[in-house]
Amino acid sequence: MVRNLRNAVALALSCTLASNIALAQDAASADPAVWGPYATLVGRTFAGQDVSGWPNYASKSRSIQWEEPGKVMVETGVQANGGEIPKMRILPGKRPGELLFDVARSPNATARVVDARTLVFNQMLGYETTVSLSDAGYDMKVTKRGEVQASATYRDTASQAYAAHEAQQTEKAAEDKVAARNALRAAGVPATPAAEAPADRVFAYQEPVRGPWGTLQVTRGKAWEAGACFAAVYINGRWAARLEDAETAHFKVPAGKVEVAVASDPQGRGTCRFGQSTQELHETVLAKGETVHVYFAFNGGAKFSEAVQAPTAP
């Protein structure tokens, strides 16, 4: 028993010592005079956000780690479009106060350490990139002739600032969604005639629903594009109907969030079968007893509109 306790204490001490050594090594080997702000950024992962200028200038994420402690760092990440950013090896340059960025499949870049908080890349075609530390992580900006072309901020994903920002973004996204839906509903649906789709082309949500439910009416408007093919209508992922131009169908759907998607026809042949992977999605909310009318028409892709109709008692 005593021996076990002694072993446990020894293990705990050795773990503490090891982690302290690792921290000390990071701090000692990342000399700010050599690495500038990267001395602070190494060992951390950041989430980016556009601040101004070019859209999608900020990467979704960037991670800076040691490849060889004290000698080479490596920066990886994911772009806003989901693709990987080219892997960059970062090492001290030929001259003091210089960092070399060895970029995979791209020309290399050189940057000058201004101080422990700031790094400026050499100009490329007149554009100059600056990296500077911030409270939550770091900022990046591109200038041309002194004018800011684009700027982004990166927050440490382990920081409280990041957690708070994420929570705020989630809340804002929910509010935006409600506002967008209200605006869409206020605009209503086009008053164009539509025939009820025949029963053999309506596949789901015709049965009685157990629990709270509402009625969803889905109408395909008349449009020149893709008019020769049926459109598949999916409700909550379930293939619910095949609709022609100017056709409508009614569904009994569980209340709550409802996803209506349209895509090419799974029963289609030839070109009518093409493009089933690209379901165009419309999200709405159906309250208990409510009837919501979702209207779509193909016009450079599916364009959705919706309206709330008089509530019905389920």
Binding site: R210, P212, G237, P254, T271, R273
Partner: protein, 431 residues
């Protein structure tokens, strides 16, 4: 066959025993006539032949349970399982048949692992209702096995409910040692380990909630298939004040294999199609650009012809993914073990996230057999099931398929007539 050897001989004996002392739910049927409520599903079974046999038998079997015709459910599930076992039994001959079946690209429905597992689950419950706990256990063990195999690969077993039910069958059969082994296994499996019943409990209550997982076609030509969880507006099930634990999460089982999330299931010949697809893609994009630039139509016309022709070649060469699915399955199975004795009243209800309760008035199975009682609640309205499962075959494709299968479907229909319309117990039992 992966079922217990006693199953074969048991079927014939059971039928005799059934005639002598059948429980109410199994009796009172004129075996030469199908109940009118099941007739539309039976007609679909005959019309679709072997191509849809397993799916139509699964749907018919479960609808028969919902309508209270347990003997017909038994026949349907037996016929479905015979077809499943030809390909997916735990035997060398089935393994060989499976590899041939995959290579030939057979279109006959056999179901995804979760669907095959659930077929054994219902068969196991029907054995339980009759008090045949050894065959019930064999069925639940087969259910777990089915959840581990796809066409070409095997995965770790993670369907904890099947292990729990194997254990319960052993308890009811008086085999405490085997029961302990299964309970230990269930404690380490999804969802989050299942607790064994405490000693002295003799009633198993199962409550099925929500709607079945969904299959959709994906990929440019619908050649791949994706699985998604079905709708379920309820977040819990209760017996009076007691919240029931989730024993089986069918939505999760459908979308995972060996505990890993499945993105899409693709059965195609990628090397040929990739080349064709690239040409097609360029042609169509080019045509779109040319049309939008309004260049007079000449170049656009030529490009569109090239693009559409290539798409047609590419699409014709891609087999459609089979998106038929067993649509009267539940999303989740809740359950608990209770004390037996008198037919104590249960107060079962499902509850929404808002706290609103929806009671389920009566069970579809309530049978006491031997040492144990089984009570199964399902919330589907009998007779509301769509007569035909949804398929992505066009009318023309369906017609040519039926023509191709004409000869074997004559034999199939004869077999079904004997199974469902005959008094012959041996045929009815599928021997």
């Amino acid at each position: 066959m992966s079922l217990h050897p006693a199953m074969k001989t048991g079927r014939a004996l059971l039928f005799g025993a059934l005639l002598a002392c059948a429980a109410p739910a199994f009796a009172g049927e004129d075996p030469s006539a199908l109940p009118s409520g099941l007739r539309p599903y039976y007609d679909t079974l005959l019309a679709e032949g072997e191509w849809g046999a397993v799916l139509n038998l699964q749907r018919l079997g479960l609808e028969a349970i919902d309508q209270g015709h347990l003997d017909i459910a038994e026949r349907a599930f037996d016929a479905a399982l015979e077809r499943v076992e030809l390909i997916y039994a735990n035997s060398d001959s089935a393994k060989k048949a499976r590899s041939l079946w995959s290579a030939e690209g057979s279109k006959d429905f056999k179901g995804e692992p979760y669907e095959r597992a659930m077929t054994y689950y219902y068969r196991g419950l029907l054995f339980m209702a009759r008090g045949d706990y050894e065959n019930a256990r064999a069925s639940f063990r087969s259910a777990e096995y089915q959840d581990t195999i796809s066409s070409n690969e095997t995965y770790a077993g993670d369907f904890g409910m099947m292990s729990l039910l194997s254990g319960w069958s052993s308890t009811c059969a008086g085999d405490a040692g085997m029961a302990t082994d299964f309970y230990q296994r269930a404690a380490t499996q999804q969802p989050e380990g299942l607790k064994p019943p405490v000693a002295g409990l003799t009633t198993l209550v199962l409550v099925e909630s929500g709607t079945s997982p969904v299959k959709t076609a994906t990929g440019s030509y619908g050649e791949a298939m994706q699985l998604k969880r079905g709708d379920n507006p309820f977040v819990s099930a209760h017996n009076g004040a007691q919240e029931l634990p989730v024993l089986g999460d069918i939505g999760w089982q459908a979308s995972t294999l060996g505990g890993r999330q499945v993105d899409a299931i693709l059965d195609g010949k990628a090397s040929f199609r990739k080349g064709t697809e690239t040409v097609a893609g360029i042609g169509i994009q080019g045509a779109t650009v040319a049309v939008s630039l309004n260049d007079g139509g000449g170049a656009a016309g030529a490009l569109a012809v090239v693009g559409i022709a290539a798409v047609l070649v590419s699409s014709a060469s891609k087999p459609k993914a089979d998106i038929r699915y067993w649509d009267n399955l539940p999303d989740r199975v809740y359950g608990t073990f209770l004390k037996g004795g008198a037919k104590n009243a249960l107060s079962i209800a499902e509850q929404t996230a808002d706290g609103e309760r929806y009671p389920i008035d009566a069970p579809v199975i309530d049978q006491t057999a031997g040492a144990c009682r089984l009570v199964l609640y399902r919330a589907r309205e009998p007779g509301a099931l769509r007569v035909q499962a949804v398929s992505n075959l066009s009318a023309g494709e369906r017609k040519s398929l039926q023509k191709r299968n004409e000869t074997r479907d004559v034999a199939f229909r004869n077999e079904m007539e004997r199974r469902f319309m005959s008094n012959d117990e041996a045929l009815a039992g599928g021997e």
